[in-house]
């Protein structure tokens, strides 16, 4: 009986604490900019603004650092209400083409964005076509902050999944322009923004890595972000946010794991206590045959 009670507490307490502390140490700055970056004139018709190529999309935001942020500081863009996990979207890509380029003729999986004017599109498919194309430049005070945009994609993706000799071709040349454009002179394996984007997110609200700031940010640092607000989230009522975050051994600022470890752990303790009390109050000796069906039956007679 005691054995049963004891085994109800499967996790040592320090683990739970450690999880929570891990999350607590992470510092995060989140700034939504899509709404404010629209000029007042277009506030009522944001879609017209974003679709109008002649309007400058530049915009400036100020970020204030509250706590010390130790390098590396990760820069993410966050899209809300964006169904990157929609089946039509997810399926519309060709991993073979990404690796082999034009050699691979079968791009049927890329519908409806497989070819343009009779020529195949590289990289084909909706995912690539809707590439995110806002850009951010950071300055601290007057000094530009160096943002490292290399190695933001998985190494295996760069080395093996996206062809080193595959160059964008016929991309965003159609009547319908989606997201960003690609430099046709850089092979896909070096287009890390694309590689990151092509990893479709599981949920309709997601963050993707933009780059890293490799120096500490101190409290009360003021950071100016010069951004280009190119990407259309206005059509579908989405939101765009810029996120700066440090990380812990568990990743980003996510209390969930710690909280739940504590919750599950304490329920275990609670249950084992209840069992212990019940055991002390009214114990059934192990292997006592008086509890068997045949004996209880006799009692009731």
């Amino acid at each position: 009986m005691l054995m049963v009670a004891a085994s109800q507490q499967p996790l040592p307490c320090p683990v739970q604490y450690h999880h929570l502390q891990g999350a607590k140490r992470v510092v995060e700055i989140v700034e939504r900019y899509d709404a404010e970056c629209v000029p007042d004139a277009y506030k009522s018709n944001k879609v017209a603004y974003i679709k109008n190529g002649s309007i400058s999309k530049n915009c400036t935001k100020l970020l204030k650092v509250d706590k010390l942020m130790k390098a590396p500081i990760y820069i993410y863009y966050q899209l809300d209400n964006y169904y990157q996990n929609h089946r039509r979207y997810v399926k519309s890509r060709s991993d073979k083409q990404l690796l082999d380029g034009l050699q691979n003729n079968d791009t049927s999986s890329c519908k409806p964005e497989e070819s343009n004017g009779g020529l195949p599109v590289v990289p084909c498919g909706l995912v690539a076509w809707s590439l995110f194309n806002d850009s951010y430049i950071f300055t601290r005070g007057a000094v530009p902050l160096k943002v490292n945009r290399k190695n933001i994609a998985w190494k295996s993706d760069r080395d093996h999944k996206f062809g080193k000799r595959v160059y964008p071709f016929n991309f965003q040349n159609g009547s319908l322009i989606g997201g960003g454009k690609l430099d046709p002179h850089i092979p896909l394996s070096d287009q890390e923004d694309l590689i990151v984007w092509m990893r479709t997110a599981a949920l309709p609200s997601f963050r993707k890595l933009y780059g890293r700031i490799e120096e500490d940010l101190h409290p009360s640092d003021l950071i100016t972000v010069n951004l280009t607000n190119n990407y259309n989230t206005y059509s579908f009522g989405g939101a765009k946010k810029l996120v700066l975050s440090t990380s812990s051994w568990l990743g980003g600022k996510n209390d969930f794991l710690g909280v739940f470890y504590i919750f599950v752990g304490s329920s275990c303790i609670f249950i084992s206590l209840v069992f212990l009390l019940l055991h002390l109050k009214d114990s059934r000796p192990c292997g006592d045959a008086t509890f068997s069906y045949w004996n209880r039956k006799n009692v009731s007679l």
Partner: protein
Amino acid sequence: MARGRIRAKFRRSNLYTFACLRPTAAESEGPQSLQGPGFSRIVHCNEPVLHKKKPLKYCSNSISTTRYNVITFLPKAFFEQFRRVANIYFLVAAICSLFSFSPFSPLSMIAPLVFVLGVSMTKEAIEDWHRFIQDMKVNTRKVMVHKGGGVFRNKQWRNLQVGDVLKVEKDKFFPADLLLLSSSYEDGLCYVETMNLDGETNLKVKRSLEVTLGLDSDESFKDFKGMIRCEDPNPSLYTFIGNFDYEREVYPLDPTQILLRDSKLRNTAFIYGVVIFTGHDSKVMQNSTKSPSKRSRIERKMDRIIYVLLSVLLGISVISSIGFYIQTKYQMPDWWYLQPQSGTSCYDPNNAIASGFCHFVTALMLYGYLIPISLYVSIEMVKFLQAIFINRDIDMYDGESGTPAQARTSNLNEELGQVDTILSDKTGTLTCNQMDFLKCSIAGSAYGVKSSEVELAAAKQMAVDLEEEESGISAYRGPNHHGRSEIELESIVTTVDGKDEKKKVVKGFSFEDSRLMDGNWIKDPKAKDILLFLRILAICHTAIPEINEETNEITYEAESPDEIAFLVAAREFGFEFFRRNQSSIYVREGCPSPGDPVEREYKLLNLLDFTSKRKRMSVIVQDEDGQILLLCKGADSIIFDRLAKNGRAYEEVTTKHLNEYGENGLRTLALAYKRLDKAEYTSWNNEFMKAKTSIGSDREAMLEKVSDMMERDLILIGATAVEDKLQKGVPQCIDKLAQAGLKLWVLTGDKMETAINIGFACSLLRQGMKQICISINSDTLGRQDAKKAVKDDILMQITNASQMVKLEKDPHAAFALIIDGKTLTYALEEDLKNHFLGLAVDCASVICCRVSPKQKALVTRLVKEGTGKTTLAIGDGANDVGMIQEADIGVGISGVEGMQAVMASDFAIAQFRFLEKLLVVHGHWCYKRIAQMICYFFYKNIAFGLTFFYFEAVTAFSGQSIYDDWYMILFNVFVTSLPVISLGVFEQDVSSEICLQFPALYQQGPKNLFFDWYRILGWMGNGLVASAVIFVFNIAFFYRQAFRPGGQTADMTTVGTAMFTCIVWVVNCQIALTMSHFTWIQHLFIWGSIGFWYLFLLIYGLLSPSYTGNVYKILQEVLGPAPSYWTITLLVTVTCNLLYFSHISIQRCFYPMDHHVIQEIKYYKKDVRDKIMWTREKSKARQETKIGFTARVEAKIRYLRGRLHKKHLSLNSPRTAVASPS
């Protein structure tokens, strides 16, 4: 063969007065007119060539009981597979997967289906192959066939043709339906055992036509020609109509000349016959019905669960298509990144309704993981392995005949654990059909000290029980309790009886009493009576001695095994019957001086043989002194009616002895004699001869009347008691089965007396039990409107009996219902059968006697359908086939020669006693295994399948799956199947010994504790919770945030892989918690499955990224190095299993089930340390039972105690506080 020659020319027909009456009259009648349809068959005897081409080409003699052949296998087997609703669903899903709206790749849908169907169909093929082999065995048996020119050669059965002339030798089966031409006996008689056809063990006499008697040697067939015109093949075993055209004369044929396939030639050296019906045309094959495919209760319930799941599937599909419709219609136009304007039909915002429907199909496939596709195939594999365990069980292996148990269909294994009523055949199943002479009563003194098996078993049980009572009571009341001595005394007396030193074993003779043995009877004061008694044994019979030429020993061949037992007994007492000829019986009498036997001749004047109507047989002999004697043996009631006034000296004592014998399950006969003077005999004989030679229909009646005149005024001399030897272990087995809570009905073709005897022998009946005999009152038969009167009468009997049973106050009172076949015909009719069933269910034991095979099946159906409980029928003969096929489970006794019962059965065992292990151990285990396995299957598939649905909700119901296609294929086949199969094959709550020691555990099956809706829904709820926890925890953790120190965020593949890892852990840990029996195999499978998942991920991640997409190197690079991946797995696994863990803890701590307690006793080795407790619990752990010898012993103890109690009361009446321990 050699033995048969000695008396080959002996006319056996002279022996019979009643049986085998040659219808001399019939022969003079003309040939039967065989006109019209149904009588088209023409057989050219000895000219099989004519039957090689149409229109006289009949079917070949090879038989086939297989379900498929090479061509029909595929279509038929497919049809069988798609009778399962789940398989149809998967087929449709697989077809749909070829189209664009499929959420999965076609491979992931088709591969599992092909695998599942492949395995099931392979199993079918293997089973059919075994049937084929069995058929081949029969088809390649050999028989002597006339090749022409009077030469006979061996030929395989399957090559026989209509018209072939065969020579069948002694103890061989007839390969086809034959016309008997002649036999080794001069008068064309032969003996046939039809056990395989109707289960009757007594020999039937067949007789050839007079005209063909001359064809009695191989040479005589050189020029033999004849033609048979007869009826077409039909299933009626007891009729045959045909004409035999021989030497320009036409002779009518009737069933006495027809030898049926699968019956056996006995007591006859050889016969010649012509093949009339071959193969499937033969009567026995016409009688065989296709065995119905049976499905177990659990499997039928499983179907219902699958329907429930299918409706859940439909439900969530509807929800998600409505969701999809709304999203597509109102939101998708804004989602520019999907290019809604170029949407195809399934994503067309302008035609959202069509898209909704399209999505409905997609959703049906997407959520298909709710329906466990591998369930059927896993169950089949598990059952196949379970069947191997049953087949290989050494405890169910019969060393004598070398036959193991055999699970012939493996899909009823778990049904064995839910049996409620056993319907058993008697002969060959409960008894061996061998009689042992055990006791006798001569001139009022009882001889024979050896106890019958039943007595022994009961005595042993009584000794044990008393010992326990003793210890139990003394614990309560202290040791100085007096008055027990009486019980002890009686029990000792019975046990002393059991102590017998082994002497030379003579088959059919277990008698032991020094007063009679070794010639000691001469010293007995009643030596004269004994002499007469022994002479009756030696003379009054129809048997024939056979001298074994090598050993010079004499064996006897007789129609019934009782006679053999008598003759063996007589021989052992010194009266050796050694020769018989037409007119005399020769007996070598070892008296008066045992060393010097005298051969005596008894002239056989008349023989009045045994018929079931007369229930007696007599011989009239004249001894060497010229004295004429009538010696008679028969049923006691018949004999007692016919005693002379001065012949009743021993009636009272003998009756007492007869009752005792009957109580001990022995078959009894009374013996009597009468001295005749010459004149009296001659006058009677004249009349008798007149009757014998008379022609006409009243011949039989006349003979009977004349015989009756003679068999009167007899002098009773004694009685015999023969043990109808029960098969080994039968009483113990019945006792255990009764303790396991099973009811046993005996359905037998035997007489009521025999059936009651066996009832006593098996302890199904006992003294003090109230026997309810339902029978037809012969008065009612004569009346007008007889049928209605009979029915009313039966209804009244039933109602009265039911009233009596209901009004009975004594909880220990037991009732036995005995009913015969004729009454049963009425009782089974629509308006009576429920009354009958109601009464039968209330009775502790039910014995139906004189029932036909059809009635056996009807009774079985009545029990099955009337009570709604699981029935098991067990039998050995072809007459049990109907019952075996009708019952939920049919068990055939193998090892005996007939194979029909075995062929029709679902399980075959060599001995009745193996039924105990088959049910109590294998049945119990298999039931629990399959029940747990199915529950777990639903759990794991719900846990997995519902995560698809949750994920849908966050993908705008677009039908995207979060898992890679390969994960999904893997799920059912590789990462979860082996552990559950090992659960299904190896799980045992308690070991087999404990199952046997605690038969009450068996009741968990019939009560269906492990597969009721509470449990099923509980498991489903568990699955629901698990799926929710897995999904919510993973999504909450991976939501937006980076999951690695390197800052990377999770994409869909990463989340999917992490989620799948959690599922693999959760379901495998769950099954580890479910199991209570571990060997290295379970550990290997469970932890191996988890290990396999990681291994797969590793290897799959190494394949080309153009194929694997985002899964490329997912474990090596993305998840493996992330600590959060491992911690989330741990958290989810613990959380999901916490609920179940608490449940089983609470159950075990506060509401333990029987097997829990026993497991604990075993775990703490309490059974070794506290032996008294262990034996006490063992004896308590049985169902309340009123049959079996334990119940009998208890009844006896109760009776003795009651007497004791009274004595106490009278001794110390003021202090009546004698607490009865009961």
